[in-house]
């Protein structure tokens, strides 16, 4: 199948994330369409990595972008980039889905960043994205294995510190310490990516 899809024939091009969000706040649906086109692919990659089911990922993605539309007025540039904002919303909705599944005891635990859903690949990124991914992967790899495990279980599998302690057999206090140290190291090592443009 030819992977290309029809290009949207919209009358304007707006590239600035913050302006898109400002226009969404004013009720501009075209801005929402452009915002979705900019962020749906990395967002979908994250959701799919977390929920591991394509139909669930569709639901989560729809819910997250609709929430972004309804809550565009809550975005505050001073509290973080648009990238962090939308990826946080997306991840929160994916966590909701994961935790709802666990409540029903139907969720097999999948850890780490290997493997994937039946769809396999979402990314269609360029050199800049590949470079960023390499930098993030390197930052994660430099963590001690036990700290990396905590981060992966929390971020991709949506486990709480208590659940991580149960899963790994470590005391809760140890898990808390590892989480804190890992977070601080990631923040310091990824500071180089802290730009106006944000995460991509």
């Amino acid at each position: 199948m030819n992977p290309s899809r029809p290009e949207p024939s919209y009358p304007t091009q707006v590239s600035d994330d913050q302006e898109l969000v400002a226009r969404m706040r004013a009720g501009d649906q075209l801005a929402l369409a452009r915002f979705y086109d900019r962020w749906s692919r990395p967002a979908y990659a994250l959701v799919l990595q977390m929920v591991r089911d394509a139909d669930d990922a569709d639901d989560v993605l729809e819910s997250a972008f609709y929430q972004a539309w309804r809550q565009a007025d809550r975005y505050e540039p001073g509290r973080g980039t648009v990238a962090t904002w939308i990826l946080t919303i997306v991840r929160s909705r994916a966590l909701d889905r994961l935790r709802a599944r666990r409540r029903l005891r139907e969720e097999p635990l999948v850890t780490g960043t290997d493997g994937g859903s039946e769809l396999g690949v979402v990314g269609r990124d360029g050199a800049e994205d590949a470079e960023r991914r390499e930098l993030v992967a390197d930052a994660l790899k430099t963590l001690p294995p036990e700290q990396r495990e905590v981060v992966e279980l929390a971020y991709f599998s949506g486990l709480s510190q208590t659940e991580i302690a149960e899963r790994t057999g470590q005391p809760l206090g140890t898990v808390k310490t590892r989480t804190r140290l890992a977070g601080q190291k990631l923040r310091d090592r990824l500071a180089v990516l802290r730009t106006d443009e944000g995460v991509r």
Binding site: M1, N2, P3, S4, R5, Y10, P11, R23, G27, D28, Q29, L32, A33, Y36, D37, S40, R41, P42, A45, Q49, M50, A54, D55, E62, Y66, W69, R70, G80, T84, R91, S92, L95, T113, G115, G116, E118, L119, G120, V121, D125, D129, R132, A137, A139, L140, V151, A154, L159, S160, Q161, T162, I164, K176, R180, G183, L186, R187, L190, G198, V199
Partner: protein
């Protein structure tokens, strides 16, 4: 943890809060402290940005044209749903009352009292100051109102342009000079029908289906293009709406005489590379 964490507790839990790895009560307690503490707010923002970068790792290695096409179809369908919900929300949202119909500000005159010349001068001065403040406040309010009006007008014009562009594109996809139409009929689902519009000039395909029941649990519908040589090309999975309708769009280059038929089958969730399930609707290309 208490309803609001103290600085020490919150500071130590910020990384976990950024990862949403705290119990809900603890998360609320930390965030309550963060709302009051600029240092913790700044650190949490930095930690959240760092953890958001981890999303970049959510791209498994490898590639597959079929997987890419499948994801494109899914992203396009979600896009349509999000925009439709946004449009519905806009339609339901009451408009802001125009500033021209806003009730005028009124100032009630105080009851007359006997005052000294000095106090009268003071009162007059205060009245002037109040009046000036009112003028400034009303002017600022009008300006903000006007800005809202302009933003809403721009949004409305933009929405209309977007809707028109979508309509024109859909119209061109079903009425273009090189468009061939394949009618699909039920083969198991008695009322289900669909029309596939194939624009041979742009290689775009657009199928509109009706009366499709939900796929059975753990299954999905998958669309197939069947060539004259018998090749069955997977064209993506889809799920009908609660009303039983579905719209599938894609781009695929096929020689004008190569299409034999179009079919929809029911397959395991996620789809398959070759059809395995029952045919739900099928249609033969004209002249075949």
């Amino acid at each position: 943890m208490r309803r609001e964490a103290n600085h020490q507790e919150a500071s130590e839990a910020l990384a976990a809060a950024a990862l949403d790895a705290l119990a809900p009560d603890d998360q609320a307690a930390v965030l309550a402290h963060v709302d009051e503490c600029p240092d913790c707010a700044r650190e949490l923002a930095e930690l959240r940005e760092a953890t958001a970068h981890l999303a970049a790792l959510a791209v498994p290695a490898g590639d597959s044209a079929r997987a890419t096409a499948e994801i494109d179809l899914r992203l396009a369908r979600v896009r349509s749903n999000v925009l439709a919900r946004a449009a519905a929300a806009v339609a339901e949202t009451p408009r802001v009352v125009p500033i021209t119909s806003r009730a005028p500000a009124t100032v009630t005159a105080p009851a007359p009292r006997v005052r000294s010349a000095r106090s009268l001068g003071l009162v007059a001065g205060m009245a002037l100051a109040v009046a000036a403040s009112l003028v400034v406040a009303i002017t600022l309010a009008d300006r903000a109102g006007l800005q809202r009006e302009v933003a809403q007008s721009r949004a409305a014009a933009s929405n209309a342009a977007a809707a028109l562009a979508v309509s024109e594109r859909q119209l061109a996809m079903v009425t273009g000079p090189q468009v061939a139409v394949v009618s699909l009929a039920a083969n198991g689902a008695p009322k289900a029908t669909a029309l596939m519009f194939w624009d041979r000039g742009t290689n775009s395909w657009s199928m509109y289906a009706h009366n499709l029941p939900p796929a059975s649990s753990g299954h999905t519908y998958e669309l197939w293009l069947i060539t004259s040589a018998g090749r069955k090309i997977p064209a993506g999975t889809f799920a009908p709406t609660s009303a039983g309708t579905a719209h599938v769009q894609m781009t695929y280059a096929l020689a004008p005489t190569d299409l034999q038929a179009v079919a929809v089958t029911e397959e395991p969730a996620g789809g398959v590379d070759a059809p395995t399930g029952p045919i739900v609707i099928v249609g033969t290309a004209a002249g075949k």
